[in-house]
């Protein structure tokens, strides 16, 4: 045992000696980027669309209802393009679990990898190995670091969501009157960004008669959101509309209104999923709400992947490609492709969606 202690002391001393000399700190700016393999190939917008493109989808995790719909859209698109669809992925959404799947896909010599990254940096080295062996990388839903993918399919921009919320609120309030917001938590990044855009929108002349009286927070908790919705109507009896930019908040607010005397008098709108809002659309509590369609994200990712594999685009800003039923898209800054304005759901179309 004494010998073991001695060995421990010796190694500790060694370690301290090593650490005493020199030092690499965060501020040395020798940070490890991806060292992206920038493609130098020229894009030819008129190149023929390749058939038989092998594209593998790697979502954050398998068997998650949301990502199942996303990759389902990818499968639809690859069927249209006569490509070869594959789905792989981990059972847990941890950062490093995706890496060994990327390695497997490199070995299988896929043409395109579509990935929703669990961690933008952990997948970087592997994705760049994939790219240097000729595989195109399309990030969707959740971006990988910029220099390890060719393009990123962004479901919606902050502006797009904020504008859509303001537009719906104005329509439902009849262009004037008091409106309130029921958000998630006070420090929720996404919600706060959307609310900021929403407030900027209200300064426009066409929304001059709308008055935002309060931003309430239901903390994305069903019960708290329900109570906050109740509180809003007690404090502001003339309220015309509640706008909830969170799927928990919109459902709780709709549930409260549907069972109260305010039904049909106070509108509820915001971001929600068709399945949770269907009954409130049917019973007239809610007229319309919005969300991006997850199936379209995968669909667009597949079209972008095949366009990359065909050489029609390389991921440079300003390049254009066609995405089937979604129409033509132009690549934006940093290889970002925005899906477009969120889908608006109402009584006329809600039954076409199941998510």
């Amino acid at each position: 045992m004494k010998r073991r202690l001695l060995a421990g002391a010796v190694s500790a001393a060694l370690v301290l000696t090593v650490s005493a000399c020199g030092g690499t700190t965060k501020n040395d700016s020798s940070s490890s980027g991806g060292g992206g393999a920038q493609s130098t190939a020229q894009a030819d917008a008129n190149a023929a669309t390749k058939e038989g493109v092998k594209m593998a989808f790697l979502p954050k995790q398998l068997n998650n209802p949301y990502s199942d719909i996303e990759v389902g859209g990818g499968k639809t698109a690859l069927d249209e393009l006569k490509g070869d669809y594959k789905l792989v992925g981990p059972n847990d959404a941890s950062a490093s679990s995706q890496v060994s799947y990327i390695n497997t896909l490199i070995q299988q010599q896929q043409d395109v990898i579509g990935i929703a990254a669990n961690d933008p940096n952990a997948v970087c080295p592997s994705l760049n190995q994939a790219r240097s062996s000729g595989i195109k990388v399309v990030a969707f839903d959740s971006d990988a670091a910029k220099d390890c993918r060719d393009v990123f399919i962004n479901q919606a921009t902050t502006e797009g969501i904020g504008e859509q919320l303001a537009k719906m609120a104005s329509e439902l309030a009849g262009g004037s009157g008091e409106i309130a917001i029921l958000s998630a938590t006070p420090n929720a990044t996404n919600q706060n960004a959307w609310i900021e855009v929403f407030k900027q929108q209200l300064t426009k002349p066409e929304y001059a008669n709308l008055k935002l009286v309060k931003v309430a927070y239901g903390n994305d908790d069903d019960q708290k959101s329900f109570q906050e919705a109740q509180g809003l109507l007690q404090s502001y009896p003339n309220l015309k509309a509640i706008v909830a930019p969170t799927t928990v908040g919109i459902a709780a607010a709709a549930r409260y209104i549907s069972s109260s005397s305010y039904k049909g008098k106070v509108a509820v709108t915001g971001l929600g999923t068709p399945n949770q809002m269907r009954e409130y659309i049917k019973d007239g509590t809610v007229t319309k709400f919005a969300l991006w369609n997850p199936a379209d994200i995968g669909y667009l990712a597949a079209y972008a992947g095949v366009a990359l594999a065909s050489g029609q685009i390389t991921g440079v800003e300003g390049q254009k490609f066609k995405a089937g039923k979604l129409g033509e898209y132009t690549i934006g800054k940093d290889g970002e492709i925005v899906l477009g304005p969120p889908t608006v759901f109402d009584a006329s179309n809600i039954d076409q969606y199941n998510f």
Binding site: M1, R4, V15, L16, V18, S19, C21, G22, G23, T24, T25, K26, N27, D28, S30, S31, S32, G33, L62, K86, V88, P90, N91, D92, S94, A95, S96, V99, S100, Y101, N103, T104, I106, Q107, Q108, Q109, D119, P120, N121, A122, C124, P125, A145
Partner: protein
């Protein structure tokens, strides 16, 4: 030990040998049958994927042979990773952070050792407790954020290969440690004490072995190696996160048991354990290349484990039955 054969050879029980043979066979078959399995790049991937598990399995073998268990290793890895990211954010030099992380791992191991050997609590309960505790602390330190801007020189060494061949640089520390641990377990008094303590704690104590002290230090080493794995993991994925290595403790224990170590202690070999690690990693890699689903992979792993526990017992009973028949 008045055996003619060296001690390690007699300890190489039938199952350990079998696992080694099976592993070699699986490697050969996969190279022949599975497309792209035998490529040098895939070999690199395979080694990089099994490294953290192999590292942690070394001290785990000692701990399980003494009849204890350490389920907190993956959480120790996660907490080390989180602390590494936090210290890096605070502007400490990486050359200071790494030794600090190793010390942290040793301290976390010492805490387990204290509970098990001083307070005499059952190690299963203790390390399930610290599994939750250390993982919780990791999230306190780093939340659900990630730190990624580690120095290029370090991250590229950890992901790199020797002379751009197929052998990862990280294999060097693993091989060195594996040799050291193997020699200690199979060719030193410490190793004999470990087996003695696992076979019968009382008998070991009567023979003058300080079992509690031995176990305490084994937990320290287990924590230290888990800390090292945490540092290497963080650099390999250039991502310090609180959820790094989530659930890995079961992969390690599975590999150790598959490698022929008895969960009741007193039996096992390090070569067998390493074969167990390689076998599980190879199966996973090869079956994934064949597009076998995760669910099927889990089934294969589970069946293998059951067989590895079952088969030696069946053999023992069969032999006993034969002997009975011979004597009647």
């Amino acid at each position: 030990m008045s055996d003619k054969r060296p001690a390690w050879l007699s300890r190489l029980a039938s199952w350990d040998a079998a696992v080694i043979v099976i592993t070699v066979l699986v490697l050969l078959i996969a190279s022949g049958v599975v497309e792209n399995f035998g490529s040098s790049r895939n070999f690199t991937f395979l080694l990089l994927d099994l490294l953290p598990i192999a590292l942690i399995a070394l001290p785990m073998t000692f701990v399980i042979v003494t009849g204890e268990i350490d389920l907190s290793v993956a959480s120790t890895l996660g907490l080390t990773s989180a602390v590494m990211g936090d210290l890096w954010n605070r502007g400490l030099p990486i050359e200071t952070i790494i030794p600090l992380c190793l010390v942290l791992g040793a301290v976390l191991g010492a805490l387990n050792g204290f509970f098990v050997t001083v307070l005499k609590l059952p190690s299963l309960a203790v390390t399930i407790g610290t599994l939750a505790l250390y993982r919780g602390l990791a999230f306190v330190v780093l939340g659900d954020g990630a730190v990624a801007d580690f120095p290029r020189a370090y991250t590229s060494w950890v992901t790199g290969t020797i002379g751009d061949g197929p052998i990862p640089n990280m294999l060097i520390p693993l091989v060195v440690l594996a040799v050291v641990f193997g020699l200690v377990l199979h060719a030193t008094p410490i190793g004999r004490s470990v087996f003695a303590a696992g076979a019968s704690e009382q008998a070991a104590r009567f023979a003058g072995i300080r079992v509690a002290r031995l176990k305490f230090w084994l937990y320290v080493v287990s924590g230290l190696v888990a800390g090292l794995a945490g540092v290497l993991w963080t650099l390999r994925y250039s991502s310090a996160r609180a959820d790094n290595g989530l659930g890995m403790e079961l992969a390690v224990v599975a590999a150790v048991l598959l490698g022929g170590v008895s969960i009741f202690g007193g039996k096992g070999t390090l070569p067998g354990v390493l074969a167990g690690v390689v076998l599980l990693a190879t199966l996973q890699n090869a079956l994934r290349l064949q597009d076998v689903s995760n669910e099927a992979l889990n089934i294969v792993t589970g069946v293998l484990l059951i067989i590895s526990v079952l088969l030696p017992n069946v053999v023992i009973r069969f032999r006993a039955a034969l002997r009975r028949r011979a004597t009647t």
